[in-house]
Amino acid sequence: MLKDITIGQYIPGDSALHKMDPRTKIIAVVVYMIGLFLANTQSAYLFVTIFTACIIILSQVPLIMLIRGIKPLWIILLLTLGLHIFMTEGIPIWQWGILKITAEGLKMGLFMVLRLIYLVLITSLLTLTTTPILLTDGIENLLKRMFVPVAHELAMMMTIALRFIPTLIEEAEKIMKAQMARGADFESKSLLARAKSIVPLLVPLFLSAFRRADDLAMAMEARCYRGGENRSRMKELKLAARDAIAIAIILCFAAVSILLRNGV
């Protein structure tokens, strides 16, 4: 059950998206979001859909991985669709008691659902095609350029957090098994029994997390880590022609999206 967590998952590959500078990708995602949220006509959505599909094809990421990322959102998607369909005022196309579906509602609902799906698709593409290390390097670099004072520390925290997700999952599974061997009930249908079994899981898990944090801090200090000041890098991020092209394309995307919004 814990194995379903896919945060920060990376799929190795050799596509244009994989090779792109992480900073370009982060900026592109932000611009894409602006373009996506500005779209409000059918032609605009058609354009966004085609553009998104092109990027997915370009990334060479298996579609199944992307769909897996959307799956947990189905309740939110359904709720969004439902709220918009039934709550929007307009010309009713179907009515049953107080429930009525309007053409505007249907349109708005579908738009909102598509918007959410594309949002999740593109952001998961970012993590799927960028290694966590590169991603945090990119974020650090961008934050520094925006004169955020603790850019390195923030990025280091993110790197460590991402790095330890699988470790902690493994640890949690180990402790669960050990407590199950002592008769703990993690699989019971009874909510009370399951809630009771949380303490024997959480206390050792927290302890081990603190122990690991201590060890890691010690190991980092032993290797003379002292924050970001004057720290040089083995691999400097370098922008290539590819990145300029990507930025140009994404800016065009945003421009077209704005134009379509105004009904050209």
Binding site: K174, I175, K177, A178, Q179, M180, A181, R182, G183, A184, D185, V199, P200, V203, P204, L207, S208
Partner: protein, 288 residues
Amino acid sequence: MSIRLEDVSYTYLPNSPYECNALQNIDIQIEEGEFIGIIGHTGSGKSTLIQHFNGLLKPTTGRVTVDDIDLGSKSADLRAIRQRVGMVFQYPEHQLFEETVFEDIAYGPKNMGLSTEKISSMVQKAMSTVNLDFEKYRYMSPFTLSGGEKRRVAIAGVLAMEPKYLILDEPTAGLDPKGRNEILVNIEQLHKKEKMAVVFVTHSMDDIARLADRLIVINSGRIIFSDTPRKVFKEYEVLQKTGLDIPTVGRLMLELQKKGWNVRNDLLTIEEAKNEIMKHAREVGRNA
């Protein structure tokens, strides 16, 4: 009555690129009162194997039965099985969580739904088995204890459920010699006095040579030997090829043979080695 594995195979992440056959066609029978050692190098499937004994893992194919109860059947009460087959994981002290030693050891018996008096007597018995003074330790926090004491509290937590079979995954790893000895003596006594069946996973060939009635060697998810330690350690060439060693005593005897001494090489304990060397020395003395 026994734990029986019939043609058990286990595959991690089946039908994915990360598929891994951790166990292949394993047949094992563990009788009541036996002392079995399981050896194999890291990643050979030892830990996967022992987790089948109490239903923590379900075999991909094959059948596991504990005292004729099929663990795969829907009616099998796994919690009752886990009480009967006690399992002590690697570094068991990492699973301590209660505020006092007493409460932590009582966790297992409590999950069995027993009365307070019964639980108290079971905890007391488990603590005396691992040589922890009941009055001294009962109100102490397990987190203030030393490494060896913590480990013994964790083992007591499993013993308190009074299992018929006890499975230990490297119970002495990371302990100092004193802590190791104490735990080994405890386990030996459990086997001898309480007639508990013990399955002991270890990397220490010296310990296992002395303790086990039967030794199971696994390599890449398959059993390659299942016999008495004396017979298994005779195959030192095969063992060394799979990354395993033989007891120090056996190595000493092999070295002596290389030097031209006429001694047996299938010895397991220091006592046996001493006698053999003395015998040889006497012969040499007579001939001289």
